[in-house]
């Protein structure tokens, strides 16, 4: 169920402000691609264009093309809601629905889209929680509020919720930045397992994390202050970290700036 993403010459705007310029890249299926770069370089913004989440912000729009296998995500006939069902997302801060139980949180995506069959839901909820390495911890308290879990568990709950709608791609926007090291490790292990089934894109501020979990790494940077962000280079992770093509990447990796 994993698909390839092809981005060609993408510009992202908010109103008249150009946030990201000229990004072209390919994200391979069943692999983990990490986006790294200094704050404000547009990596999160770009990530959100991969499931059209940038559009929920007033004035957000793109120029260019994003292909999911042979589907054009920005074709005029394409419904953004359908795009988001195909390309799931996990956010920086765990955001379980506070009024819902653990079970309801995982089932939310299906239920809100009209799936009612209890048996189907039961099956998918268990499968998703297992997929998120959370099943054994919560199987006895599925009816308890999701907000009662620890931060790391909440984030895995959100991952379970995201994979329950069976997306092709999973976007993760700094999923560990609000978590402690042990929870972070649990998420990283999970990412490693999930890449067997999904195409995964992860934005991270943590270069060690990018090195640990990703197969390929993309480095984003601002051309200059006030200029839009752009993709500097994308390559195999080992290569980016050991022998990058660009000087800017080298400087960033070695901690000379950013």
């Amino acid at each position: 169920m994993a698909k390839r993403i092809d981005v060609s010459d993408l510009n992202v705007y908010y109103g008249s402000f150009k946030a990201v310029e000229g990004v072209s890249m390919t994200v391979e299926p069943r692999s983990v691609t990490a986006f790294i770069g200094p704050s404000g370089c547009g990596k999160s913004t770009f990530l959100r264009t991969l499931n059209r989440m940038h559009e929920v912000v007033p004035g957000g729009r793109v120029e260019g093309k994003v292909m999911l296998d042979d589907q054009d995500l920005y074709a005029s006939s394409m419904d953004p809601v359908t795009v988001r069902r195909t390309v799931g997302m996990v956010f920086q801060r765990p955001n379980p629905f506070p009024t819902m139980s653990i079970y309801d949180n995982v089932a939310a995506g299906l239920r809100l889209n009209g799936v009612k069959n209890k048996k189907t839901l039961d099956g998918i909820v268990e499968q998703s929680l297992q997929g998120a390495n959370l099943w054994t911890e919560v199987k006895d308290r599925l009816s308890k509020p999701g907000a009662g879990l620890s931060g790391g568990q909440q984030q895995r709950l959100c991952i379970a919720r995201a994979i329950a709608v069976q997306p092709q791609v999973l976007l993760m926007d700094e999923p560990c930045s609000a978590l402690d090291p042990i929870s972070t490790l649990a998420i990283e292990d999970l990412v490693n397992e999930l890449k067997n089934d999904f195409t995964i894109v992860i934005v991270t501020h943590n270069m060690q994390q990018a090195a640990r979990v990703s197969d390929r790494t993309a480095f984003f940077n601002l051309k200059a202050t006030g200029e839009p962000g752009r993709l500097v280079e994308i390559d195999d992770t080992t290569r980016i970290f050991n022998n990058p093509a660009e000087q800017a990447t080298e400087d960033y990796i070695s901690g000379r700036f950013g």
Binding site: G15, S16, E55, V56, V57, P58, G60, R61, D79, P80
Partner: protein
């Protein structure tokens, strides 16, 4: 859906992260559910606009014919005889009574209300704050008709000797001159109104005082200021716009208060002589209209009352607008 281009509202520009509290219309889709629900929400908002427009329009439309037939000066006459062949009516008496009683109410309610707000936020022991705030909020929950009853039956007999005393000692002062009115006076109505609007002043002031940045307060205290000095130098300046708008909202309420005032006013005899005294009687806009609801017999007569209501509408609108402007300006500062 095509791409939205050229959004000019610069204030809507998000941070590069895309974090922005508002949702854009692009989150919705062309689905039927979205169209219906979004349409219903928009329709409700439009209904509100239409209602307010209609209120203004209907009042004007029905007031104008009566005003055209009016043989007295609407703004400067104290006569009120809207019936008959030659209708003659003016609002001067109502305007004076309404404004004078509301002013008295403000002079009493604002200092006390601010004091209570300071007490609740700065002085009260922690255990008392919650219950005390609830108590003051309770004052706001009491229906105004009950204030009217209490004022009429219980408070007035207690107040009357006090008023007589003031008239005896300070009666030489024009505002406090005796008038021989035996019932409720402008001053008395002002007192009852002040009790009614006190919770409004307190609630809003309390809110802004509580928002005073701790850094300001601690800054003052660290310089060796006493608690009062800290309040004077940080809490009060910070809260001033809030207090002003609270006072304006309270004033709007006092101007339009109907039933309690209706119970308490003493109507003046026709042709009674003009006096500045606050111990005079007289109707307010609201009480005049309410007291004569049974008389809305013909359009001309009704139109006269509607014209009076229109003036009240405009008066409260101006006062409330001032409150909003002050609040907005403060927001602009703090954001």
């Amino acid at each position: 859906m095509s791409t939205v281009t050229g959004v000019s509202a610069a204030d809507e520009l998000p941070q590069p992260d895309g974090k922005k509290p508002r949702q854009g219309d692009r989150a919705s889709t062309g689905r039927i559910g979205d169209r219906l629900f979004g349409g219903a929400a928009t329709l409700s908002g439009v209904i509100v606009i239409v209602l307010v427009t209609l209120i203004g329009a209907f009042l004007v439309v029905q007031a104008v014919p009566a005003l055209m037939n009016n043989s007295a000066s609407f703004f400067t006459s104290r006569v009120w005889a809207p019936g008959g062949e030659q209708p003659a009516f003016g609002i001067l008496e109502f305007l004076w009574t309404t404004v004078a009683a509301s002013t008295v109410a403000m002079l009493l309610a604002v200092p006390v209300g601010v004091g209570v707000a300071l007490f609740l936020t700065q002085y009260a022991p922690t255990w008392l704050r919650g219950p005390a705030a609830t108590l003051v909020d309770l004052l706001a929950a009491v229906p105004s008709i009950v204030y009217g009853l209490w004022g009429l039956v219980t408070f007035f007999p207690v107040w009357k000797p006090v008023q007589n005393g003031i008239e005896d000692t300070l009666g030489w002062f024009p505002l406090l001159a005796p008038t021989g009115i035996s019932g409720g006076t402008i001053f008395f109505i002002g007192i009852v109104l002040s009790i009614m609007v006190l919770p409004i002043v307190t609630a809003l002031s309390r809110e802004v005082f509580a928002q005073t940045p701790t850094a300001h307060k601690e800054g003052a205290l660290a310089l060796g200021a006493t608690q009062w000095e800290m309040i004077r130098t940080s809490v009060l300046p910070f809260g001033r716009p809030g207090v002003i708008s609270a006072a304006m909202l309270a004033l709007g309420r006092a101007l339009g208060e109907t039933i309690a005032v209706t119970f308490l006013v003493s109507a003046l005899a026709d042709g009674s002589s003009w006096t500045w005294s606050l111990f005079n009687g007289g109707e307010t806009f609201a009480s005049k209209i309410a007291n004569n609801a049974a008389e809305f017999s013909n359009p001309g007569k009704t139109g006269a009352y509607i014209a009076a209501g229109l003036v009240l509408f405009v008066l409260t609108f101006i006062v409330n607008s001032i409150a909003r402007v002050v609040i907005e300006r403060r927001k602009a500062f703090t954001e």
